[in-house]
């Protein structure tokens, strides 16, 4: 018994030390964001000798932080909507209808899980369609990139919704559209939550997409805003750290409030066996 307890205590100690490795970098940006230019450049872990709040004022004045948040929110929100709608509609037919064409489409999506984005031709395509640099182009890019995973997940889940349900509804005279919106969609809610979390985490944090596709600075997302800010202010780390804290903290607050759902959501469907 004592040996067992000792073993647990040792394991707990090791785990806590590992957790410190994760927490300390976050602590470092937090304390340094309250330091003046000289002290912040020391990258130390000590509390500020003198608490400087001016860094945050500077970020607000020069960082266009609200605009960045607004753009990220808009782009993530609309991508969530389009991916959920398009993927669930597609999964509904892919799982229910068995034909060569439908199977071919499904395999095309599966291939999309692996294939890397061809970024330069994508830019060219956006130009040819005369939508280059618009919110719409970025939302379509994200939708296309995130569809394969979402379709894959939703098709897997559709299997658990009995066909008899469709048949009963259709016999009662319900059309396919009503069947989908009023019966199927509500039953898919748990997976749609998963899709939403995956989409938000990937779109909100993405740098690659807007870096290539958003040329107009008024449409930059918050991550692109921070990239630009670091290039301009890399001599004053206090301000850069303040910017990071402001970008990271809302994400972490949401994460801590919803962590159970986020972790379960992100891993749902991964190990059904």
């Amino acid at each position: 018994m004592i040996r067992k307890r000792l073993r647990l205590a040792v394991l707990e100690l090791i785990a806590i030390l590992c957790a410190l490795v994760i927490v300390i970098p976050f602590f470092m940006i937090l304390v340094n964001s309250f330091k003046g230019i000289r002290e912040a450049a020391q990258f130390g872990l000590s509390l500020p000798k003198e608490w400087v709040f001016d860094n945050y004022v500077q970020v607000f004045k020069t960082g266009n932080i609200l605009r960045g948040f607004k753009n990220s929110l808009l782009i993530s929100g609309l991508t969530v909507f389009s991916v959920n709608l398009l993927a669930s509609m597609a999964a509904f037919v892919i799982q229910r209808r068995d034909s060569k064409f439908v199977r071919a489409v499904f395999y095309l999506f599966v291939v999309g899980l692996i294939v890397p984005v061809s970024i330069v031709p994508t830019i060219k395509l956006m130009g040819d369609l005369a939508i280059k640099g618009s919110y719409f182009s970025l939302i379509m890019y994200y939708t296309a990139v995130l569809l394969p995973f979402s379709v894959f997940l939703l098709v897997g889940f559709m299997k658990s919704i009995p066909r008899e349900l469709d048949e009963a509804a259709l016999i009662e005279g319900c059309g396919f559209l009503r069947l989908y919106f009023q019966i199927i969609l509500p039953l898919l809610i748990t997976v749609l939550v998963t899709v939403t979390i995956v989409v938000v985490v990937s779109v909100w944090n993405d740098f690659f997409g807007p870096f290539y596709l958003m040329t107009d600075s008024t449409k930059w997302t918050i991550v692109l805003q921070i990239f630009n800010f670091v290039t301009m202010y890399s001599t004053n780390w206090g301000i850069v750290f303040a910017f990071m804290v402001m970008v990271v903290s809302p994400v972490l607050i949401i994460y801590f409030l919803l962590q159970r759902y986020i972790i379960d959501g992100l891993t749902a469907g991964s190990v059904k066996g």
Partner: protein
Amino acid sequence: MGKLKYPLYFLYPALAVFLLFFITPTVIGFYYSFTDWNINAKEIKFIGLANYEALFQEPRLKTALKNTLIFSASVTLLQNLFGLALALVMNEALKTRNLLRTIFFMPYVIAPLIIGYIFRAIYHPDRGILNVFLREIGLGGMARDWLNDPNIALYSIIMTDIWKVAGFSMVIYLAGLQFIPKDLTECASIDGANYWSRFRHIVFPLLAPAFTVNVLLSMISSMKVFEMVWALTEGGPGYTTEVFYTYIRAMFSSGEFGYATAVNLVLFVMVTAIGVPVLLALKKREVEM
């Protein structure tokens, strides 16, 4: 029944967006990689294999190829090793288990670019907390210029990536561990099996689905790495940490669009050649189970 004709119009919107914005660029990319398309060209001319001939002479491609493979192999291996170890520890009855699980997963929800910037400060040769810590515990000899030493810069990026993604693998393994019946390991324990043999003969085989998902996900995403490298070294010093997407970025910036597309196509071939067989193996095993 079974003859219900589910209308295909449900499928068309998703298919249209996917074909237009994903498949089309991939396919026209094939064509552009055989052209001299660049920023100054008035018209785009077909030049056959010229881009590829130049590309395969280029040491920079070999570097990008080598680094991408090292990066991907190391991340896949270490992410799974750390993720599995953490999951096994977190599966024990620790008091702080829930808090620790939340902390380990935390970096996964932060933008890779920001994590890269944070580690640029941590890896600073004089003042970064890593070297300061090493000197403090008397291992000053191990202190390095983590991001500017060509011999270790790539490995510093790899470790940063592991820091970010190990928690994700942990969570997938934890989900897999929940499916293993407790009495199975307890029985083995009573029969005298020690921890290692219980792990090897019972736990690990039953973790197979989680293992496959983890390996597949980390392999495919690590071959497409860009942001972490860009934030930490931009492919430098020199080209020593160049990966495919930083190379493509450099060619794009210098206006060599056709050439950049050819590099992208080499990446496509590599990811497909490695990813598709693994995916098929996964599918096949799913059928058997």
